[in-house]
Symmetry: C4
Subunit: 203 residues, 4 copies
């Protein structure tokens, strides 16, 4: 009886969850390139036409590095996790869904930046990172509550991790609101959040 | 002689089959994003235009989570399988083919939902999940018959697994038929099947 | 000195070559779905329009299963290989290049089948499989010559493998030629070759 | 206290960084096929139309083999690295960003080769390889400085590696400049650099 309970609760190894996640991250980050392109080129005017596409390059670089940095933190999170249960797999799936959406919201912001619709586009862009931040925090919190973390992780490290993850909630939340004031300021805030998460968590 | 027979019948490890499958699942799930987009935007009308695209978001979320949940059950199935033989590799290949088709059928349903062709589109959509369910059941059944499952799996667990897999046959079969009555009801049925499969099998 | 020579010649493990190959196979096979679509749909005419696209479905299925079966034979080949040297990595790279080309040649055949250009399209389609067969044979032969195969593989098994790989050279070569007589016959020949390779090599 | 310092500096295993990198390389190399296509086909004129697309085939092959060879050298570099720290993960991320850009710059060169804009397109193409070369050298140098390399690698081998990586800086730098003289010469120079890197580093 106790054995059955144990079997039910027993988390499975993280290996294949990590390899599937790596795949989704790798494809999502590479699909960003499909948004790069050049339009309405006059003969001899390629350099000018490329120059006009700068919002695509800026948003490409911000999105690429942000997804990459999220991957790297995802990697670090799973190094702390000893095993996964079904709810964690599902939370991770929603996390991956929000990663997958980023090439779409990136293309949207690149297309509408500097135009009449840049506020809406920037809000959608920031909202996709907010969703990511929500699911990242939820995954971390679930793993902490269900004691799926590896043995030997101190309560201090655990609460530091949760605090670090939840900072994104405030920054990306603010970026969604600020998008309606200034699309560029909202984009800069998203880039700053990426810089923050680029630093390792153990200090 | 017995040794040769044994060598012929000896299944190979599941490692690379799992990694190839993970890759296909990861790419298929991420390609769904290519269907997201926005068309016919009037200046200042991006929010309205995005709102008009709701069938794309609904079908994107349903398809993403369904593929993710199938992946998770595929993962669980392969944890029970000790080794693969050639027919299992081929059955798994047809399973992956039906996964790959989903971004196409999803785009179709999103494009035609709420129009004159929604019944046909919903039937094709449900049929792609029915095909998936058929191949999933076939893979499971083959593994059970050829004793490719790991030692220590009870006949009860085995028949429970097969029963669970075959439920999809009925639900998705019904969704194909119901599509001609109501496309939305058919889509809801597909979403409910995903919810069912989201719960772990061991209870 | 002998140690240095040994270090030069020492092949590296096959692990990362296999994982990169799995990735390319998985992406190429999934990209095939991008060719599925439907055009010129009259309101209420989706079923008719889908029916008109049958060459896309036939070529999709043939190409998907062929790439999958090649993957499975590639998998089997690498199970026999103990380690890779640089030329083998490069040969494998050309093999992957020819896999990557298949979504393009598949789209071409699907677009031109049943039209004035079907002979050229079928020849290009068969030629992409011929290229694949050439590189597969070359990779196998190199591994055999440089003794990169695992210990314990008999010369009989080795020559059987090489024979099996080289059958594709003749079949796909014939399919290129026959394309100019009948595109459908050429496609059927390509499908038959896939069926041949679907059977395991050890009999 | 010393233990804490040690924990901070302790690099993590390279496994998941390699698998994420393999994924990006595999997707980027396969996305190159999306640039293959054929336009403005007159009935019966497919062969002519395909022949007109030769710049796409040449740049496809050069880019595919170059990305593949970079992957192979990346693989070799990571075989020398015992563990990764956060800066190395970030440098590797920028390296992957420059790999991801290649399908875009390849498409650009293919589209404008033999036209009025070929100089700009060839310069952008060569610049993407220059960026790759810069990040490759930076990653190598960081690993060497922070002693992340495996034990037993001699200073001679280390400086040979760094020298080999930095040759790309000069060749691709020259290719950027020469693009404004002759696009074809610049492309040939990029192809020659790939041939150089195709040879193994240990001689």
């Amino acid at each position: 009886m106790a054995q059955t309970d144990n079997a039910e609760a027993r988390p499975t190894p993280t290996g294949r969850t990590e390899s599937f996640s790596d795949g989704v991250f790798a494809v999502a980050v590479t699909l960003l390139v499909l948004d790069l392109g050049v339009h309405n080129v006059q003969p001899g005017g390629l350099a000018t036409a490329l120059g006009r596409e700068w919002p695509h390059y800026v948003t490409f670089v911000v999105s690429f590095l942000t997804i990459g940095i999220i991957w790297s933190n995802h990697h670090e999170m799973f190094e702390r996790i000893a095993g996964v249960d079904r709810p964690l797999v599902l939370l991770n799936l929603v996390l991956l869904l929000s990663v997958t959406v980023i090439p779409f919201t990136t293309g949207l912001l690149a297309a509408y930046l500097r135009g009449a619709d840049e506020h809406v586009a920037a809000a959608v862009y920031a909202a996709s990172f907010l969703l990511l931040s929500v699911t990242f925090t939820a995954t971390n919190t679930w793993a902490a509550r269900r004691r799926l973390w590896r043995a030997g992780i101190s309560p201090e490290e655990m609460s530091q991790q949760l605090g670090r993850a939840s900072i994104g909630l405030f920054v990306y939340g603010a970026a969604v609101g600020l998008a309606f004031v200034s699309a560029v300021v909202s984009l800069v805030l998203c880039a700053l959040a990426a810089v923050y998460y680029a630093f390792p968590s153990r200090v």
